[in-house]
């Protein structure tokens, strides 16, 4: 099994090279074709038109697009993703500083989405043919139709403003130190032995993670229910019934395992979407992640930073898909034989 997984990972990594090249080239070209002037954005308001022209030349914006791309690619291969126009800092360094917070948020949100999705899917399936099925169905559609930023605002209003149960700005309460070890605050606070920071970080993470999780759970719910419907048509379910197994046992021990495979694939795809969904949620909750950084970069036409963040999103999605496919191999013996 390990060999099969390793083979798959190696194959995926090799395939990732042309994908990354294509994505980086597309990103580069699209960003350069936008009708914005990064040279003007990088100079102060008292710069003259002549100084802006000089800056354009200095930034290489007067060179042909393919040449500009090759220069960027060569620098990127040497670990230099350029400097942020607005922040005048290394774009790669900014991404590295903010990525762990976003991964932490996305991972917590995915865990919530998975729990709600699995639980909801099982409930939806159990309610099949019953009086409450249309109600539950409608509820899942309503959940599906609310985007993550709206959940963000609703939760903020209810739990932050009305009930005042939970904080909704930043990562920890004012006055608490931020241990910097790995960049993952939950882990760092534990490594530093600061349970107060850990608790505060958990409190601050609840609302944004739930907002994201709630937005992505209905799809998992509905796919799981649909997969369970398919699985229940299989002969082995009928045989299990004939063996006298309880419906609960059949559902949890037999049907769920097989129905979870397509759900897992979907969850992998969803995680990629969820990761990019952090953008607005991070802004709403003043969460210092990469999404927040991206919103600023777009606002400032900060092309080097947009390019670096865009490429990072692509790498993360590729890694997630590889991880999910590997898990698929672990869970599905048929794939190992092949």
């Amino acid at each position: 099994m390990t060999a099969a997984v390793l083979k798959l990972i190696a194959r995926r990594l090799i395939a990732a090279i042309p994908i990354l090249l294509i994505v980086s080239a597309l990103l580069f070209c699209i960003l350069r074709l936008l009708p914005v002037d990064p040279a003007a954005m990088s100079l102060p308001p008292n710069a003259t038109i002549a100084e802006i022209e000089d800056k354009r030349r200095e930034m290489g914006l007067d060179k042909p697009l393919p040449q500009q791309y090759l220069i960027w690619l060569s620098d990127a291969l040497h670990g230099d993703f350029g400097r942020s126009i607005a922040l005048r800092r290394d774009a790669g360094e900014l991404v590295a500083a903010t990525l762990p917070a976003t991964i932490q948020l996305a991972a917590c949100a995915m865990a919530i989405a998975a729990i709600l999705g699995l639980g909801g899917g099982l409930i939806l399936f159990r309610l099949r043919g019953m009086l409450f099925e249309p109600v539950a169905d409608l509820a899942s559609i309503v959940l599906l139709s609310i985007p993550e930023f709206l959940w963000g605002l609703i939760l903020l209003f209810v739990f932050g403003v009305l009930l005042q149960w939970l904080p909704f700005t930043g990562q920890v309460s004012p006055g608490l130190p931020l241990p910097h070890i790995t960049g993952f605050l939950l882990l760092d606070s534990l490594l530093a032995g600061r349970l107060d920071v850990f608790w505060s970080a958990c409190q601050h993470l609840i609302l944004p993670a739930v907002a994201l999780g709630l937005a992505f759970s209905p799809t998992i719910m509905r796919v799981l229910r649909s997969s369970l419907f398919d699985v229940y048509l299989e002969d082995y379910i009928q045989q299990a019934r004939l063996r006298g197994l309880s419906e609960r046992h059949i559902l949890l021990s037999h049907a769920l395992k097989n129905a979870s495979l397509p759900t897992l694939t979907l969850a992998g795809v969803q995680f990629g979407i969820l990761f990019s969904g952090t953008l607005l949620v991070e802004v709403i909750y003043s969460y210092p992640g990469m999404g927040n950084l991206m919103v600023d970069a777009v606002r400032n036409a900060d092309l080097p930073l947009i390019q670096a963040i865009g490429l990072t999103y692509c790498i993360v999605v590729l890694l997630i898909n590889t991880a999910v496919d590997s898990l698929y191999v672990v869970l599905n013996p048929k794939l190992r034989v092949r």
Binding site: L34, P35, V36, D37, A40, M41, L43, P44, P45, N46, A47, T48, I49, A50, E51, I52, A86, L87, R88, R89, L94, A97, T98, L153, L156, F157, G160, V161, Q164, W165, L166, P167, F168, T169, G170, Q171, V172, S173, P174, G175, L176, P177, L178, D196, S200, Q203, V283, I284, Y285, S286, Y287, P288, N292, L293, V295, D296, R299, N300, A301
Partner: protein
């Protein structure tokens, strides 16, 4: 028995957890009169205050760093790190005398070496600093003593004193940066300001601690936390829930609502920011009649009432009340009948409207798109048909560079100094990137004023220019913009005419 105990323990734990969850979350620092939390819309671009000109970051920089000169709440230039200054009659040099009791947060004494380093050496070293543009005329800074120096300019710099209190002009420590390196300075900035930076997290939080060695009046509040909350709705929620004590730039309707909230105080303060329509001198606007008709057709008071609760002051010139360039004896009237008559002279009418383009941003400043839509309707009433085009702010420069902006563009221009050069001088200077107006007559007048050294003559020149520009339809000033401020009623602050909210002026009552 054991099982029962376990169940009981479990229930107790669950009840405790539920009670904990239902209680308001605990704050690490209890609310005291020694601490305050501000909800701020933007982070600083970097902790090198000379690096980027970001108006929203200036109040934060002013807490950690000091400027050589300062402005009082009415924007009058006042001594600060510089005790006295003297601009030569030809504006080719400026002698300054610094205070001798100023120390940086690391204990180093501030001297003219730091002054020379900040305003000359760093720029000549080729560092990517925005101040390189404001101080590009500096040829040298001659040090005469630890407190006395003379700035030498290679061209007249009549606004040098104003720039000493403007964007990016903050004193930085030469010795500390040179010995520790720029990266160390960016991570652990050291200034001479009333607060030290205690903690910083990008796009999230800035924690300031009072600097006890500060040379000036000590801040009343020892700990100030600035929460970076970019979303206006989240800023509203934060002040309403008590997670912040003070916030700015909330939507006008929310500010009006907060005026009725007990415990909170909300204000709409007019500031030195002008909302205007930038004009082109060609295309359909080559005709002066059409340009003036477009101006006469706009009911500015109605715009103020509709979008700024009447707090935004209608303007007739490109300057705000109280600033040197403002004209109290000049007003450009709202007169749709006159607008129609002017258009009729050029053979246009409501049945044969003149067609123009009108660019606007959506969300760059409060109600920008809605104001533009209202203006389009006002123009329609007199015979101007405007095609409204929404552009991104970043796109503005590219369009202007390529001479592709339409006849009119709705714009907002901020000028914390209040100096007319940075109002009409920048907005009508054909060599600057903010002026779609390319016309030799007005352009030459502006360029000439950039070289006038005498303050009174310079101001008089700009006052004439402002009237002339409006009378010729070169610009349409609309409103003096407002900043919305919401705060706890017992948290006072000093109001500045340019909208600065300085943490060092906060005080609990």
């Amino acid at each position: 028995m054991a099982s029962k105990l376990k169940r009981r323990s479990f229930l107790q734990l669950a009840a405790g957890a539920a009670a904990g969850m239902s209680a308001p979350f605990t704050r690490a620092r209890a609310a005291t009169t020694d601490a305050a939390t501000i909800g701020w819309p933007n982070d600083v671009p970097s902790w090198d205050p000379n690096q980027r000109f970001t108006p929203d970051a200036q109040p934060i920089f002013k807490a950690v760093f000091d400027q050589p000169l300062d402005q009082d709440p009415q924007l009058k230039l006042i001594p600060h790190l510089i005790k006295s200054w003297s601009l030569a009659p030809d504006a080719l040099s400026m002698a300054v005398e610094l205070r001798d009791d100023v120390t940086f947060h690391n204990g180093d004494k501030m001297t003219t070496e730091d002054f020379r380093y900040t305003f000359f050496e760093r720029i000549k070293a080729g560092l990517k600093l925005d101040t390189a543009n404001s101080w590009k005329k500096v040829d040298d800074i001659v040090i005469e003593s630890p407190v006395k120096a003379t700035m030498k300019f290679n061209a007249p710099a009549p606004t040098a004193p104003q720039w000493m209190a403007f964007l990016g002009s903050y004193m930085v420590p030469k010795k500390y940066i040179e010995s520790g390196g720029l990266d160390n300075f960016l991570k652990n900035p050291v200034g001479t300001g009333p607060y030290k930076l205690a903690e910083y997290e990008l796009n999230s939080r800035i924690v300031l601690e009072r600097y006890d060695g500060y040379w000036g009046p000590k801040p009343k509040i020892a700990h100030v936390t600035i929460e970076i909350i970019k979303d206006p709705s989240a800023r509203v929620a934060a002040i309403q829930s008590g997670q912040t004590d003070f916030t700015i730039n909330v939507p006008v309707r929310e500010a009006e609502r907060f005026q009725k909230e007990p415990g909170l105080s909300a204000e709409l303060d007019p500031i030195t920011r002008v909302i205007l329509i930038q004009m082109r001198a060609d295309l359909a606007f080559a005709d002066r009649n059409v340009r003036l008709a477009a101006h006469h057709a706009i009911d500015k008071a109605a715009l103020s009432k509709a979008f700024y609760a009447g707090a935004a002051v209608p303007l007739s010139v490109l300057a705000t009340p109280g600033t040197p360039g403002y004209l109290t004896d000049f007003s450009f009237k709202y007169d749709p009948a006159l607008a129609k008559a002017l258009l009729a002279k050029s053979n246009f009418s409501t049945s044969n409207p003149v067609k123009i383009g009108f660019a606007t941003t959506n969300g760059q400043f409060p109600s920008d798109y809605d104001i533009a839509r209202a203006i389009v309707q006002m123009w329609k009433q007199v015979g101007i048909e405007a095609d409204l085009q929404v552009i991104e702010y970043a796109k503005y420069f590219e369009l202007n560079r390529g001479n592709k902006l339409p006849e009119t563009t709705l714009y907002s221009w901020d000028n914390a100094t209040g100096d007319p050069e940075i109002f009409s001088g920048y907005q009508l200077n054909p060599k600057m990137p903010f002026s779609p107006w390319k016309d030799e007559d007005i352009g030459n007048r502006v360029l000439a004023l950039f070289g006038v050294a005498d303050y009174d003559k310079r101001i008089a020149g700009y006052r004439d220019l402002e009237r002339y520009a409006v009378e010729n339809g070169a610009t349409v000033p609309l409103l003096q913009s407002v900043v919305t401020i919401v705060r706890k009623k017992n948290l006072a602050y000093t109001k500045y005419a340019n909208g600065w909210v300085l943490p060092q002026t906060l005080r609990w009552s």
